[in-house]
Symmetry: C2
Subunit: 230 residues, 2 copies
DNA sequence: TAGATTGTTAATCGATTAACAATC
DNA sequence: TAGATTGTTAATCGATTAACAATC
């Protein structure tokens, strides 16, 4: 029985997805600025290269606390530390890579993960031709070992890059093994229990989005030239 | 000089990004339903597996026209054709793959692209060890040939998977060559002219988003158990 | 002090949801 | 006809922007 005075949900109010997405970008930009020797930055200058307005930068940051100094701006070192903590990237995350096809191999070599504390510590695949192969100090293991290995290595996050047809069943195995979050690259909608976090990365859908934008901007050019030929 | 009566912008009103994103998902779901032998579907049943409410499905579709039949629902065949046209995936799109590292190789083999009419027709890389290699009926070409090849093969879209440091300069080359859209996998914010469409896919940022969700849901569990132990 | 810049409030804008007459 | 379901309107909800007192 909960002792909450009102029937308040147990979930902490998550910052809106859009805010978190932008904060990731700010963090990257701040690291770039620091590498260039800057020590402080204003909301306007931080947002400009990302096409984000100064008021929005301040509001996004204010969501998580007071980090700025009126008249000065933000101290870059302090803000980086604070945002890393907020995003949960101030410590290492052990990852499982599930599905060792082309995409899996690419993710294994992706530098953007390592630099954020994400470390692949296990690779799984069911193809007998792949199981047992050694890559990067790791050995490809069969899905049968998934549950055991995930627990032993305290893996909390998984990169799911298996074919769409088996995505749901493999995701169910990951959930049963106790992972806390899944980054799904398979173009299939997954159903997971509420306590497991899920983000889908659908590359085909991204490309469709791009095609739509291009198609539309062509339409507008067409329309504009018609209009001007009256 | 424009003949527009008022100083209306020439750009056609784009459907909100969120709408287009969902429509891509509807299309995929519809194709799945068709493959299962269904012929009509209601907004409620179409949205359910995607966790989208019936009213939202109808509103999203209504953005592009009237496709439904009161009392019946939507005819799947007709709706698929209509949405393909709307999204611009009712014809083939020739693509350039720029940067042939791990990620580039994975994208080359990605089946989700081909099935949507996206066809990689050129591969570029500046590494002398890669230039000249033959893969999948294509030859890896140097960036120096980019402009010429893009024009000759009428390439409109590019997959940019080069290192972040050179992403902007390679993007500038693509723009100069006349591509209409870029799907950027490099973790760097790009500046492009307005008439070129851009979508960024930042895998590191996605994983950060996931880490944040996990971190937050842990907090809420922690808080809930504290609350219940009073 | 004067200039710069914050955090926050109020105003605007846009997106989602509920409700319902119209239709098959 | 009765039941199902649409497209659309009005109500709600949430996110962005502008403005400004407070602060260095």
């Amino acid at each position: 029985m909960s002792s909450n005075p009102e029937s308040e949900p147990a979930t902490v109010k998550l910052a809106p997805k859009a805010v978190v997405g932008r904060v990731c970008l700010y963090l990257r930009q701040l690291e770039l600025l620091r590498s260039q020797g800057e020590t402080t930055i204003s909301s306007a200058k931080l947002g400009a290269p990302l096409l984000v307005k100064n008021a929005q930068v301040r509001k996004d940051l204010a969501y998580f606390g007071q980090f700025g100094h009126p008249g000065i701006g933000y101290r870059i070192d302090d803000l980086i530390s604070a945002l890393r903590h907020v995003l949960g990237v101030d410590h290492e995350w052990p990852l499982a890579l599930v599905g060792f096809g082309n995409l899996g191999r690419a993710l294994l070599g992706y530098r953007g993960f390592r630099s954020r504390g994400f470390k692949i510590v296990a690779i799984f695949d069911n193809d007998p031709a792949k199981v047992g192969r050694k890559v990067d100090r790791l050995t490809v293991e069969p899905l049968g070992s998934l549950c055991e290995v995930v627990r032993a290595r305290q893996i909390t996050l998984a990169l799911l890059c298996v074919p769409a047809e088996v995505a749901q069943s493999v995701a169910d195995m990951l959930v049963a093994a106790g992972v806390a979050g899944i980054l799904n690259f398979a173009p299939a909608p997954l159903r997971l229990p509420d306590q497991v976090s899920l983000i889908g990365v659908d590359l085909g859908a991204q490309l469709e989005n791009l095609a739509y934008k291009v198609e539309k901007s062509r339409d507008s050019v067409r329309r504009a030239s018609q209009a001007s030929s009256y």
